[in-house]
């Protein structure tokens, strides 16, 4: 039991659009253990983004249960959800979502600022993380001075800043050429090998296949749950 990071039971999300109700998620059940590397695959409109938003505590469900690391998220306030995002979840977005006015180093420091890590410690850890993703030389550059692959590596370093249990990557290679894309996937796989739980959302079967488990989602329901055998 202790080993389960994400526990989702009968999760639904209904959007109201005027008179119509849209069931974006319709009775999702999903367990993800610590240390797993899971990819969630689906066409656009399948509900995978909604699922990611709920897993990432950016959105709240309509009904059902979602436990993150044993914490019942339905009982949390906005502030507590923000705290949870801050310390438990590291986001990697398709379009990087770095702050353009800040250097790579400052971007990586950002989650630690919100967690209240002292300046000195924050700086050291940010430098260490950027070194780890191979950007030691470029840490004082701004995002627009970096290539797409480099920007995504900054984003990965940022995701790791508060040493979260969960790395949530939404189409991390979607905006990258195939070479940078495979570099990023290599880094993500390494992270998983070091013990980080990774949930990867993608529509690309080739990327999904690099995970250890694939969850296929369609029309808000899980179609199949397949373990990839390398």
């Amino acid at each position: 039991m202790d080993n389960i990071l994400i526990k989702i039971r009968n999760l639904t999300k209904i959007y109201k659009m005027g008179e119509n109700e849209v069931r974006a998620l319709d009775g999702i059940n999903l367990d993800i253990e610590k240390g797993e590397f899971v990819s969630i695959v689906g066409q656009s409109g399948s509900g995978k983004t909604t699922l990611m938003n709920i897993i990432g505590c950016l959105d709240v469900k309509t009904s059902g249960e979602y436990f993150l690391n044993g914490i019942d998220t339905s009982k949390l306030s906005d502030n507590q959800l923000a705290d949870l995002r801050c310390s438990e979840i590291g986001f990697v977005f398709q379009n990087f979502n770095l702050l353009q006015k800040m250097t790579a180093l400052e971007n990586v420091e950002l989650p630690m600022i919100y967690k209240g890590v002292p300046t000195k410690e924050r700086r050291q850890r940010a430098q260490m993380l950027l070194e780890m993703v191979g950007l030691k030389e470029r840490m004082h550059h701004r995002p627009n001075e970096l290539s797409g692959g480099q920007q995504q590596r900054v984003a990965i370093a940022r995701a790791l800043a508060n040493n979260p249990h969960l790395i949530l990557a939404d189409e991390p290679t979607g905006n990258l050429d195939s070479k940078s894309g495979s570099e990023i996937m290599k880094i993500i796989k390494e992270l998983n090998e070091r013990g980080n739980t990774v949930v990867l959302i993608t529509h690309d079967p080739n990327i999904a296949a690099q995970a250890k488990r694939i969850v296929r989602i369609k029309d808000g329901r899980i179609l199949e749950n397949e373990v990839v055998t390398p």
């Binding site: 502030n79 923000a82 977005f93 006015k101 919100y114 002292p118």
Partner: protein
């Protein structure tokens, strides 16, 4: 810690849009400058008017007689007996008329001639530059002597020494015995353009013995009220209880009237300037709203990374406070310089008081806070998912 970070973010954001930040601050700068300059000049002129009134002499009492029915004035005897009092040190009835003064080919038209007695000098604290003022013996002897105000002396005589010379007032000869020091214009009129002759000489000169104006000096500032009461009861007897027949004014009354006028004026000026501060605040709100919209994505990213509502709120409020605070400081400096320059141009002491500076600065900060809360709140309440999707 958190505040320091928010301040850093605010400064960075202000610096990254220098032109826009400057224009936003300009509203506050102009507002604070206007408040400080206008209020300081208002206070400075109040001080200068006050000191002019005080220089009239703090024991001064003025009596104006408007009369009632046939009795529109006092006789000389009725006026002079007012002096029979323990509270009155000096008294001078005054009769004024307008004349043409001539010396040789120089003439001055429409000059006021005041008929006064020997007490007048001490009552009005008159300074003589050369010669002497009207003396009691001039009055008793009905001497044809004149004391000239400084402007009149200059216009009639130029560089010639007027003492001992004979001038013509409406064709009658008078010997100049004294020149007054330059006093400058004051609220009570200027003596610089006046001529003084003995009161009893005036009776014949103007063919008029009706006293309508009396200057009285109380023995001390404390006896002013007592003296006024006594004068009042004596005059009431003369005018058969008609309180509208005469008016008794002392310096403190004039002072309080003038002060209430200038206070209203200062308030009005400050209010107008305050409105420009308010407009500056609306400018800040405007820019902050634009800034929130522009930075929707940034806000989304920050929220996704764990920023709480409070953090975003703080960031934007500190940003607007920094804008208004910086604007306030620049406004204080500009306002200070402006008041000093205008003050010296207007020949008044318009040094801004500490309270003016503090009040206008805190008002600018309050404006920044007030107009920053709405945009900041808007930013803090953004939905992170929608904010992240914002292009």
């Amino acid at each position: 810690m958190r505040y320091v970070e928010a301040l850093k973010i605010a400064i960075r954001s202000i610096l990254s849009n220098k032109m826009r930040s400057f224009l936003t601050m300009l509203g506050i700068i102009i507002g604070v400058t206007a408040v400080i300059a206008l209020v300081s000049i208002g206070q400075g002129s109040t001080r200068s008017v006050t000191s002019q009134i005080q220089s009239m002499g703090s024991n001064l009492i003025m009596v104006n007689v408007m009369g009632r029915g046939g009795e529109s004035s006092l006789t000389y005897d009725q006026a002079i007996v007012l002096k029979d009092s323990n509270f009155i040190a000096a008294i001078s009835p005054v009769i004024s008329t307008s004349v043409t003064a001539m010396y040789g080919n120089n003439s001055v038209d429409n000059t006021t001639v005041n008929g006064v007695n020997g007490d007048y000098q001490s009552i009005r604290d008159i300074q003589v530059a050369a010669g002497r003022f009207i003396l009691p013996m001039d009055d008793e002897g009905r001497n044809r002597v004149a004391v000239l105000g400084s402007n009149v002396a200059r216009e009639l005589f130029g560089f010639t020494d007027p003492i001992g010379k004979t001038i013509k007032l409406n064709g009658q000869n008078f010997t100049v015995v004294g020149i007054l020091s330059q006093k400058g214009s004051s609220i009570a009129g200027s003596d610089d353009d006046s001529i003084f002759i003995p009161l009893k000489t005036m009776f014949y000169f103007a063919k008029n013995r009706d006293i309508r104006q009396i200057y009285i000096e109380a023995t001390s500032p404390d006896t002013v009220e007592l003296a006024k009461n006594e004068i009042n009861s004596k005059l009431l007897t003369i005018f058969k209880g008609d309180t509208n027949a005469f008016r008794i004014i002392d310096q403190s009354q004039i002072l309080s009237t003038v002060n209430s006028v200038t206070a209203t004026l200062s308030l009005l000026l400050g209010g107008i300037a305050g409105i420009s501060l308010l407009v500056g605040g609306i400018g800040i709100m405007n820019i902050m709203l634009v800034s929130v919209t522009e930075r929707t994505r940034e806000i989304g990213i920050r929220k996704a990374l764990g920023a709480k509502k409070k953090d975003i709120l703080l960031q934007f409020i500190i940003e607007s406070l920094t804008l208004s605070g910086l604007g306030g400081i620049v406004g204080i400096i500009v306002g200070y310089v402006l008041s000093m320059v205008l003050g010296s141009a207007m020949n008044i002491n318009a040094k801004p008081s500490l309270s003016t500076v503090l009040i206008s600065f805190s008002f600018s900060v309050i404006v920044g806070l007030f107009f920053g809360v709405y945009p900041a709140n808007k930013a803090a309440n953004l939905n992170p998912i929608e904010a992240l999707r914002y292009e």
